[in-house]
């Protein structure tokens, strides 16, 4: 284990930025802190770095306690052997590329010849070879990003901290850097603690993700696990798109089996079946939410209803062509609007009636 947080709390004024968070990061993995802004993910990173003092709890790096309120321990940031890439990259403008990367090595008393060799090797690794003498302020955004990465990796830190490192790049470059980072991490085997609010970044890069909300860790797990089996409504709605329909439990059904829900409001009179979500069993008559990912809804274009299938009818309200597919807002029962993903292979038009099938194994039922 590289990093362990145990009940760490950080208070800013009246705000509990981090509220008793506990985490463990294993060696060689990319561990991501994901959440909306203000959820405490950056605070967590800064606490690990030693840029903030915790108000409660304990932080250990490779088995060595670096910050602990009960034991009155605090190790200064420069004695933690961490690497960090800042959102603004924090490239020192008064040094050139070589000097920026050599700085941490010189602080560690590395011999001159070794410094040159290590810097050259790491610059080569990220494709900055030959730019040694370039002034740091003359680099492009992507180059600065790579330089910041070099500077954080050159002394082989125990843990690499990344604070929203891609947020200042444009969309194309961001995708490219995401792939590069993953390849690089797999090659070097460095442990990474990554902070982002971008779920695509988190899902695509991480080995494991901790979803955070209001200073607490909501759920920790592998990307697919979180996406397919969210433990709470917050995680379900934060990761990816979710269509939520309201209703009342009609038939609770056997444990692990299907539950039948009678829909409310404009869809009153319709029934849908789904399987139980992670919460406790639902009794008949209890208010419930049905959740399904848009990509799991199946479409039959002609609007014919077959009563035994798990179906609803709807009308395309707005149609957006987004390149690889269509996104459509579909009105159900004249009132409820849901998001749908429609394949490009067929023709669609606004006002078109759709027959939507909700496969029961992809519908989950949650207490309201």
């Amino acid at each position: 284990m590289v990093l362990r947080l145990d009940g760490v709390t950080k208070v800013f004024g009246a705000v509990r930025a981090l509220d008793g968070a506990s985490l463990e990061v294993e060696r060689g993995e990319i561990f991501t802190l994901l959440g909306p802004s203000g959820c405490g993910k950056t605070t967590t990173l800064r606490l690990v770095a030693g840029l903030e003092h915790p108000d409660a709890g304990e932080i250990a790096l490779r088995g060595r306690v670096v910050a602990s309120v009960p034991r009155r321990v605090f190790v200064a940031p420069h004695k933690r052997n961490l690497g960090m890439v800042f959102q603004s990259y924090a490239i020192w403008p008064h040094m050139n590329v070589f000097e920026n990367v050599a700085y941490p090595l010189r602080l560690r008393g590395v011999k001159r010849s070794v410094v040159a060799e290590k810097v050259t090797r790491v610059l080569d690794l990220v494709g900055l070879a030959g730019l040694d003498e370039r002034g740091a302020t003359l680099l492009s955004g992507g180059q600065m990003q790579r330089l910041a990465l070099c500077r954080a990796l050159v002394y082989e830190p125990d843990l690499l901290l990344l604070d929203e490192p891609f947020s200042n790049l444009d969309a194309k470059l961001r995708e490219q850097m995401r792939v590069e980072l993953k390849v690089l991490q797999r090659r070097l085997g460095v442990t990474v603690l990554f902070v982002t609010h971008d779920q695509i970044e988190a899902l695509s890069l991480s080995d494991r993700i901790a979803v955070m909300q209001r200073g607490r860790v909501e759920q920790v797990g592998a990307p697919r696990e979180l996406y397919e089996r969210p433990a709470s409504a917050f995680v379900r709605d934060f990761l990816g798109q979710t269509v939520v329909l309201r209703g009342v439990v009609r038939e609770p059904g056997p444990r692990g089996g299907t539950i039948t829900v009678a829909l409310d409001g404009a869809l009153a009179g319709s029934m849908l079946r789904g399987h139980a979500g992670p919460a406790a069993a639902l009794a008949a008559g209890a208010p419930a939410h049905l959740a399904i990912r848009p990509e799991n809804i199946e479409v039959a274009g002609d609007g014919r209803s077959t009563p035994e299938a798990n179906t609803l009818t709807g009308t395309i309200d707005a149609l957006l062509f987004v390149g690889d597919r269509y996104e459509a807002r579909v009105v159900l029962g004249g009132e409820q609007r849901i998001l749908m993903l429609l394949p490009r292979a067929r023709e669609w038009h606004e006002g078109q009636r759709l027959q939507l099938t909700f496969p029961p194994q992809t519908v989950s039922v949650w207490p309201a």
Binding site: M1, R4, R27, A49, G50, L51, H53, A60, R62, G63, R64, V65, S68, R71, R72, V73, F74, V75, A76, P77, H78, R80, N81, L82, G83, M84, F86, Q87, S88, A90, W92, P93, H94, Y103, P104, L107, R108, A148, R151, A152, Y155, L161
Partner: protein, 570 residues
């Protein structure tokens, strides 16, 4: 690795590290040199025994200060001068700052530098050159007008004469140099949105730019008011002939009579301090948490086109530049070549003798040496002290950082002459410090303290623009706090620090108020020498010295500008 009990590197009370110790040392020294003298002043106002006799405490000083018949007049005069100065200079300064920062006025960079240079002109020198022009009897403008139209309308020795010189020396230039960078840094999208919505340039300036900048303008106004309450030289030279006193000259008057009335003088100083404190607090409140964001290439502001107003605007600014910069420099220089200062109409008025006399005077050479040592020493010491204070106030979580920040403002609230007096008591009263009396070191201490509010302020805004991630990156890369301060902060701040060095260098070279009571014949600098020449009615020699100080100041201004000082408020 299994979860074995982690090894604990025990470090008791870890937050008290070198950093906290250093902060406390800085706070202690600054408090001793600034707060202690201020307390001494307060205490002294209750000490009623005449100098040389055992201390006796009472309210006589306060009573005397308030019974003094001139006091009410001095109070009123101070308020009147302050109010009129601000009233005249603020709208003009806002207009000029807007023209320089947000329009296509030709040569605006050079014009801005002209105001910058004018700010550095010693007010004493400026006053002398305006006497040459506006003296009721001999003033060049008056004599010319008398010949042309038969009347000599102007009298520099008057309320309006004092206001005129003030507006041109401090009030206008300081506001322009503080407001121009602030206007330049304003996010252009506010203005662009207004233009797109259909507003004209003028309407946008009045309805968007000025309101958006209101906090900065108000803060500059407060600073200007504080500076106004401080002034000394102009009133001393121009007010004395017609018995016009303001607070500071009144205090000086009480101190230089045959039996100095320290109690009454310090009582008045406490009144000024009490009046200043709310202004300082208001100023700090206005600038709290201001986002000093550095401008990047992305937000390059498009200047407004002035169109047909370009020529009149240029004419206005050029006229002002020639009045605030041209006139003082030319006439101070002319004055040095006059046989009789101010007498243009005598036959063959010109001579080189003044320069010869001064430059060969043993007294002058010693003073020049003193000034150079003093100014360089002050600049070096100020950079170290001011940058430490600014860094602690902005970047650390040290418990006393707010106190330190506040203390750095205190020298602004005490009239220079009183601060000098307080330092005199401090250095004569503490046995260990007594040997420093009469040395340049004492003057350096005074110079560092006098320059503290501005120096700390400039470095603070520079640090806020720096962004803390550059330092944090260094900490994580393995550098200690001290190594980061040396290798990252000081390097990146070098231009700002050099500029502060130049400003304090110039400040020390021309400072009169703080040094007047601290100098002896051994450590007398040029600024005091010129006053001594005036006291001996040697105007010609005085103006030569004033001119030399002026050129030292202008050289400093140019250097500071070349080093890239762009700091202002906002």
């Amino acid at each position: 690795m299994t979860t074995a009990t982690p090894a604990v590197h025990r470090r008791r009370v870890p937050r008290i590290e070198t950093q906290a110790v250093l902060c406390t040392v800085v706070l202690g020294i600054v408090a001793f040199c600034v707060v202690f003298p201020v307390l001494l002043v307060m205490l002294q106002s209750f000490q009623v025994a005449p100098p040389g006799q055992p201390a006796k405490y009472g309210l006589d000083g306060w009573r005397a200060a308030f019974d003094e018949p001139g006091l009410r007049a001095a109070l009123l005069n101070t308020l009147k001068v302050t109010f009129v100065r601000q009233l005249l200079s603020l709208p003009l300064a806002v207009l000029i700052a807007w023209l320089l920062a947000r329009t296509d006025l030709p040569g605006r960079r050079w014009l801005e530098f002209a105001f910058w240079a004018a700010f550095f002109l010693p007010s004493f020198t400026v006053t002398l050159s305006w006497i040459l022009l506006l003296d009721p009897e001999y003033g060049l403008i008056n004599t010319s007008l008398a010949r042309l139209v038969g009347t000599a309308p102007f009298n520099i020795y008057s309320f309006w004469g004092i206001v005129w010189v003030h507006v041109l020396t401090g009030s206008l230039t300081v506001k322009v140099i503080l407001l121009t960078p602030a206007f330049r840094h304003m996010n252009a999208s506010f203005e662009e949105a207004s233009r797109v919505a259909g507003a004209s340039t003028l309407r946008t300036a009045l309805r968007i730019t000025v309101p958006v900048m209101a906090p900065v303008i108000l803060s500059v106004l407060l600073l200007g008011t504080m500076v106004s309450l401080q002034t000394f030289e102009v009133e001393q030279v121009l007010g004395l002939p017609f018995r016009f006193f303001v607070f500071s000259t009144m205090i000086y008057d009480l101190l230089v009579t045959r039996v100095p009335r320290y109690d009454a003088a310090t009582a008045l100083a406490v009144v000024i301090l009490a009046a200043m404190l709310p202004l300082v607090l208001a100023q700090q409140w206005l600038t709290r948490g201001r986002r000093y964001t550095t401008l990047t290439g992305q937000f390059q502001n498009q200047p407004h086109r002035l169109g047909r107003w370009r020529a009149p605007a240029l004419a206005l600014v050029l006229a002002l530049v020639s009045i605030v910069l041209g006139v003082p420099v030319v006439f101070a220089l002319l004055g040095t070549f006059m046989k009789l200062f101010g007498f243009f109409h005598i036959a063959d008025p010109w001579t080189l003798n003044n320069w010869k006399t001064v430059l060969t005077d043993e007294l002058f050479l010693r003073s020049l040496h003193n000034t150079v040592v003093l100014a360089v020493g002050t600049a070096v010491a100020a950079v170290v002290v001011h940058s430490l204070i600014a860094y602690i106030a902005v970047r650390t979580r040290y418990a006393g950082r707010r106190a330190l920040d506040f203390i750095s403002w205190l020298p602004f609230t005490v009239p220079g002459i009183i601060l000098g007096l307080a330092l005199l008591w401090l250095f004569l009263g503490v046995e260990m410090l007594k040997p420093l009396y009469g040395t340049t070191t004492l003057l350096i201490v005074a110079g560092v303290i006098a320059g503290m509010p501005l120096g700390v302020q400039i470095i603070k805004s520079g640090l806020l623009q720096l962004g803390s991630e550059l330092e944090e990156a260094s900490r994580i890369a393995g550098a200690s706090w001290w190594a980061t301060y040396r290798r990252i902060v000081l390097r990146l701040m070098a231009p700002t620090l050099m500029a502060v060095a130049m400003i304090t260098f110039v400040g020390a070279a021309r400072n009169i108020g703080n040094f007047a009571l601290l100098t002896t014949s051994a450590n007398r600098p040029l600024s005091i020498l010129q006053i001594d020449y005036i006291a001996q009615r040697k105007f010609e020699e005085a103006v030569v010295v004033a001119c030399i100080i002026m050129f030292i100041s202008l050289a400093g201004a140019l250097l500071a500008r070349l080093l890239g000082l762009r700091s202002g408020l906002g």
